[in-house]
């Protein structure tokens, strides 16, 4: 079973919730994999201190021009949606870091002057932290787009585990890539105008994916009750509310998990998993 943790807004507590859930599951003798899909800024490792056992480069195919064949016809440049190839009357210039690896240019070249070479954009790492199987992706600095790394992470997920996918924030391509074939999505929000605004965007996104989902309200006792009103109006399932607890913040500031430091939260996460399990089976 794959459970994705997402939110429109950054800083709502995706990683905190994902790790607490993973930790409670692993302690309950459930085989659990935590996957940090926020490959632009993965930080789950700070809490888990995993031992990395395997790592693998992730590359995308970018064009290499054979100037002995190229006629400067410009077809490769025309088809490129990302302006990664410029063709002028004198030469062809490839910007490999703008290339998304779609392969369009290879196909349209009428004289087969384009071959594919690998452009490494990042890495995936697989390891262990206690009972939790750990995976993360890292996008290299200066590289423009992350979905191929997330795709590679997902290819390596152990099939029998309960997998917790820690998504990047927002509603764009990397998020869709991270959450799109999960069995359940937890949308995290907070009761502030920013939280509500971004929750609405996330709900629109998840409804299009047609995956069962529930709302987790973090720091539920701050702000106003607009989130609750919105959830009622849209008939959304609020699966857990976590208060703005100073003890959680203290644990967090030491790189520790709430469920390890404050036992009363263990049951909350167990119940959360039960609810999700039931929702997935229905």
């Amino acid at each position: 079973m794959k459970i994705a943790i997402a939110s429109g807004k950054g800083g709502t507590g995706k990683t905190t919730i994902a790790l607490n859930l993973a930790s409670v599951l692993a302690s309950s003798a459930i085989r659990t994999t935590y996957v940090d899909c926020d490959v632009e800024e993965p930080n789950g490792h700070i809490f888990l201190n995993p031992e990395i056992e395997k790592s693998k480069n992730v590359a995308i195919p970018v064009p290499l021009i054979d100037f002995t064949k190229c006629t400067l016809c410009g077809k490769c440049s025309e088809i490129c949606e990302f302006n990664a190839i410029a063709v002028t009357p004198k030469t062809v210039v490839v910007f490999k870091d703008m290339c998304h690896g779609c392969g369009g240019c290879f196909h349209v070249c009428p004289v087969n002057a384009i071959s594919e070479i690998d452009n490494i954009i990042g890495i995936i790492e697989i390891g262990k932290s206690g009972d939790i199987n750990f995976m993360q992706g890292k996008l290299d600095i200066g590289k423009a787009f992350s979905p191929p790394i997330i795709r590679e992470l997902k290819r390596n997920i152990p099939s029998d585990d309960v997998t917790i996918l820690d998504s990047p924030p927002g509603t764009s391509c990397p998020v869709i890539e991270a959450i799109s074939d999960s069995d359940y999505i937890i949308l995290i929000t907070e009761p502030t105008p920013f939280g509500v605004n971004d929750l609405k965007l996330s709900v629109e996104m998840v409804r299009q994916l047609e995956i069962p989902f529930g709302i987790l309200i973090n720091r539920s006792d701050i702000g106003d009750d607009e989130v609750i009103r919105y959830c009622k109006k849209e008939q959304l399932d609020i699966i857990l509310q976590i208060p703005d607890d100073r003890e959680i913040a203290v644990a967090y500031s030491h790189g520790k998990l709430a469920v390890d430091e404050i036992p009363k939260y263990i049951d909350d996460f167990k119940n959360l998993f039960e609810k999700i399990h039931k929702a997935v089976q229905d």
């Binding site: 302006n83 990664a84 002028t88 009357p89 004198k90 910007f95 703008m98």
Partner: protein
């Protein structure tokens, strides 16, 4: 000699547009006959690679030089590799700048004078950050 100049409007009386990729008009002018065409920049609303697209567009006009305010690394790369001289730091009236160019008062740049996304304004998005002014 044919050169391209970035311009805020379509006549020789207009002011130079300081940005390259997202300039309003490219004025392509033959400095001997002073015949010119003004091309409305088709890439103004594109989200990325605007400098590259603009460089490709004017390089296709078989110009020998570009005169503009600022030119970023990607556009510079395309123009440079196509053997086109890049002159940055130009400002004022287009016709005056052409006079200055003809009199040999403008110097070509060896390097791009701004980082990527310099003229992108709002909505450029994440990324870039390759530094600001490179003197």
């Amino acid at each position: 000699m044919k050169v391209a100049i970035t311009s805020l409007e379509s006549s020789l009386d207009s002011q130079i547009d300081a940005t390259f990729g997202r300039c309003q008009y490219f004025i392509i002018i033959d400095t001997d006959s002073m015949e010119f065409e003004a091309i409305k920049n088709p890439s103004l609303s594109a989200s990325q690679g605007v400098g590259i697209q603009s460089a490709q567009l004017i390089a296709g006009k078989n110009i020998s030089a570009l005169i503009t305010g600022n030119c970023g690394p990607n556009a510079f790369n395309v123009l440079n590799q196509s053997g086109i001289e890049v002159i940055t730091g130009a400002s004022g009236k287009v016709s005056q700048v052409i006079e200055d160019f003809k009199n040999g008062n403008l110097k070509s740049s060896e390097l791009p004078n701004v980082g990527g996304h310099f003229g992108a304004g709002q909505g450029g998005g994440r990324g870039g950050g390759r530094g600001r002014w490179r003197m």
